[in-house]
């Protein structure tokens, strides 16, 4: 069994836990304390508000231990706000959080709630059919370092990318019924 944690400070936590519960050979784990971090094989940083999640990461001294585990190779996946938390650079914000991925992101890149949208795409290698994508006040990636693999672009903007054991998506697979990305992430865990 792979123990996959979901950072449970704020946001769409239960949604990710529910999705993980449907993936074969995965035990979903709620991560709220330093002691939880030692016992997981991978971690999802969910959508929510990055300023709220980032502040709580610092307040409860989770930033350091998480950085250590990510640097030593623990697979991690950030969705929406989670992408901002993982990024080394944020184009329109001075705050920095886990600073793990060599990507520069733009927060609220599409605008306000009226600009939130859904679409669906073919992603060969990840899923046989079309995958629904939900963007809620979403960020996108402005630029990536050479070692970052771009998984998906939408209208010229990078919305999914992977750097070795780290994955980031602008959209929310946990708000759909489609398990493709959760299966893909579970596959990143050896």
């Amino acid at each position: 069994m792979k123990r996959i944690g979901v950072l449970g400070l704020q946001g769409a936590v239960q949604e990710h836990l529910d999705m993980l519960g449907r993936v074969e050979n995965v035990e979903p784990v709620l991560v709220k304390y330093k002691s939880d971090i030692e016992y997981i094989d991978g971690l999802i940083v969910p959508g929510g508000e990055s300023t709220a999640i980032g502040g709580l990461l610092a307040d409860f001294e989770l930033t350091g231990p998480l950085k250590v585990r990510i640097e030593s190779g623990m697979p991690v996946w950030g969705t929406c706000a989670g992408m901002i938390i993982l990024a080394k650079n944020i184009a329109n914000d001075e705050r920095r959080y886990l600073e793990a991925m060599d990507i520069e992101v733009m927060r609220n890149a599409y605008g306000r709630q009226l600009d939130s949208f859904t679409t669906s795409v073919d992603l060969p290698g990840l899923s046989a059919g079309k995958i629904p994508l939900v963007f809620v006040r979403a960020p996108y990636v402005v630029s990536v370092a050479p070692q970052v693999e771009i998984l998906l672009k939408l209208d010229e903007h990078i919305v999914a990318c992977r750097q070795g054991h780290m994955l980031a998506t602008s959209f929310h697979p946990e708000l759909t019924a489609d398990l493709s990305f959760h299966r893909y992430f579970a596959g990143m865990i050896k």
């Binding site: 300023t51 307040d59 939130s116």
Partner: protein, 292 residues
């Protein structure tokens, strides 16, 4: 179920486990964001001041709302009077992230709430019981909150409303399928939404606590009672140390099941807002009785 309505429910899901704070200017909005608020409610006067000043309370000045929108990166909400769909049109034109059709403002219509399906922008509405929650959802609300009794610093009404919704949901769940139409009639609730609650044991949208939350312990109480997050109105910026209290309520909302954390953040918060015993209020000063 339109795609837009789903997206609006999705935004509410992103607010879960968080605190939404009332602010009256850009400076307070920045303090709220820094303390870890997941959204701010932009309004000219917090509920306790609305109580004191009396008169008609209306939607806030659009200029003030715009200033707050440009001051913070978190979602910005604002209130309209019950039934005042033109105030809602104005807020939609400002690209507000969420509209609160609120009993805290003076109702503009005593019979009809806004047809929220007519808008692209999402709405949150207050409810005292399950029937009221389902009526608002039927009208298009994509998020519900308890009404509580705003501006009192007294959590008793929020507790009552949350407990009422929970126990009525249990009743709906326990009813047999053939009883559901009669239940819908008793609650004055749309039949399809009663069926949803029967099948899922929860509301189809998220449900926050609001009205009277003044301390970290109040916030944790509402979370343990099953709320998805909390609104704090007058409780923060009417207290003696808003920054510290805001931060403490955020932490207590996340670690609502951890008394040690709640104890720690409750230390030396200074004095809470001026509070009112709800039993001393009557008639028109009971805000929760506005709307139906």
């Amino acid at each position: 179920m339109t795609e837009r309505y789903e997206l609006n429910k999705n935004l509410a899901q992103m607010l879960k486990g968080g605190v939404i704070m009332d602010v009256v200017n850009a400076k307070e909005a920045e303090i709220a964001q820094k303390a870890g608020a997941v959204a701010v409610m932009a309004l000219e006067r917090v509920p306790s001041d609305i109580r004191k000043m009396g008169g008609v309370a209306r939607m806030s000045d659009p200029k003030m709302i715009r200033e707050i929108q440009s001051a913070v990166s978190i979602p910005v909400m604002a209130k309209v009077r019950i039934g005042h769909f033109v105030e809602a049109q104005i807020l939609e034109s400002l690209s507000i992230d969420y509209i609160d059709e609120s009993e805290v403002l003076t109702p503009a219509d005593e019979d009809f709430h806004i047809d929220k399906h007519a808008f692209k922008v999402p709405f949150v509405c207050g409810a005292k019981n399950l029937g009221e929650a389902l009526r608002r959802i039927g009208e298009g609300a994509s998020m519900i909150r308890t009404k509580g009794e705003a501006g009192t610093g007294n959590v008793v009404e929020a507790v009552r409303h949350m407990r009422t919704v929970t126990s009525e949901m249990r009743k709906v769940q326990g009813a047999s399928k053939q009883e559901l139409m009669t239940v819908a009639k008793e609650f004055g609730a749309p039949y399809d939404l009663v069926v949803y609650v029967h099948e899922h044991g929860k509301l189809p949208v998220i449900n926050f606590a609001a009205g009277g939350i003044a301390t970290p312990a109040d916030a944790a109480l509402m979370m343990q009672l099953g709320c998805d997050g909390v609104f704090v109105g007058s409780g923060i910026f009417k207290s003696s140390d808003p920054e510290k209290r805001a931060h403490a309520i955020v932490k207590a909302t996340t670690y609502f099941n951890d008394p040690a954390v709640i104890a720690e953040v409750s230390e030396e918060l200074g004095t809470a807002m001026d509070s009112i015993d709800v039993r001393e209020l009557s008639g028109n000063s009971l805000l929760a009785s506005r709307g139906w």
